[in-house]
Amino acid sequence: MADHSDHGAADAHAAPHGEEHHPTWKTYRWIALILTAITAAEVWIYYIPSFVKSRAFVPVLLTLSAIKFAIVVAFYMHLKYDSKLFRVLFTGPLAIAVLTIISLMFLFGHLAIHS
């Protein structure tokens, strides 16, 4: 199954906007493996009662999720290689979205700053 993809994936998102560097099939395969491994790690963590009770549980899960999110956006959506305008169009609203979620969490008392 590999040979039909080997040469093509490198060109998968090639050219319209003058970008030179694009992931190869090997890169995509590694990305799929990494995403699967991170998902497996997330589920594994979920089933460790002592870790679930610890303070690290939520930050670790959020970090792993953010890594998966960034990998898919950067490589599968090829934002890493694409025009800056696309990056702005995506990261601008994404930043607003994340800030909205965090603000609402503070507003409704799910998050608090302890001094």
């Binding site: 799929a32 899960l61 305008l85 909205t100």
Partner: protein
């Protein structure tokens, strides 16, 4: 100036789309703008879920068992093994989508059809998992009207499921076109737009899986 203009036009010609002031295809800009707006839509739905989290007065609850005043026992309702499988299927569908786009770019009709079909099949499988999950929840006593968890959960995951459904329809349409007359390499942008949408649906699920299913 004239040289620059000519060079600019050449770039557009190489890109396979009409000249634009940005040098980028309008459809792709529109797709990214749409994806940006979708980020905010899902942020509002996720916020709503998180705000209502732990505030349901009656069960069933996502991660804890519950005994009703009438003595009826309800288990924790989320089924993590099943959802982990559906998450894996959706992640793999993103890989299939990349391979489908790759095949269209190099004009390989055999594999473009195969990978488009595989992506659509993976999307349909994910929807099957979601239908199974929703049905089992209803059988276990959780509907959209039961409590705050039910309302926000079904709204959020239902909206995501609707997006996946739209993506599957889009993929099947592309597959149909490919089977009927073949998708040419100069039409790869149309597959690219579908791929962007599909990957976005995937990243939204990455967030939902962690925030809703895994964090207790």
């Amino acid at each position: 100036m004239a040289t620059a203009a000519i060079a600019h036009d050449d770039t557009h010609a190489a890109g396979g789309h009409p000249p634009t002031t940005t040098g980028l295809d309008h459809k792709k800009i529109a797709m990214w703008a749409f994806i940006g707006s979708e980020c905010m839509l899902f942020a509002s739905l996720i916020s709503t879920y998180l705000i209502y989290k732990g505030r349901s007065l009656v069960g069933p609850y996502p991660h804890e068992a519950w005994v009703s005043p009438t003595g009826q026992h309800f288990n924790a309702i989320l089924n993590i093994p099943v959802t982990s499988m559906s998450t894996f299927v959706l992640l793999m569908s993103s890989l299939f989508m990349v391979l489908a786009h790759s095949a269209v770019v190099r004009g390989d009709r055999k594999y473009s059809r195969f990978w488009l079909a595989m992506t659509a099949l993976a999307g349909a499988t994910f929807l099957g998992f979601q239908a199974f999950e929703f049905t089992s929840f209803v059988h276990e006593g959780l509907t959209i009207r039961t409590n705050l968890f039910g309302s926000s959960f079904f709204t959020l995951t239902g909206f995501h499921g609707a997006h996946v459904t739209a993506g599957v329809i889009w993929l099947v349409t592309l597959l149909f076109i490919d089977m009927k007359r073949g998708l040419r390499p100069d039409e790869a942008l149309n597959v690219d737009l579908c791929a962007l949408y599909w990957h976005f649906v995937d990243v939204v699920w990455i967030a939902i899986f962690t925030l809703i299913y895994l964090i207790k």
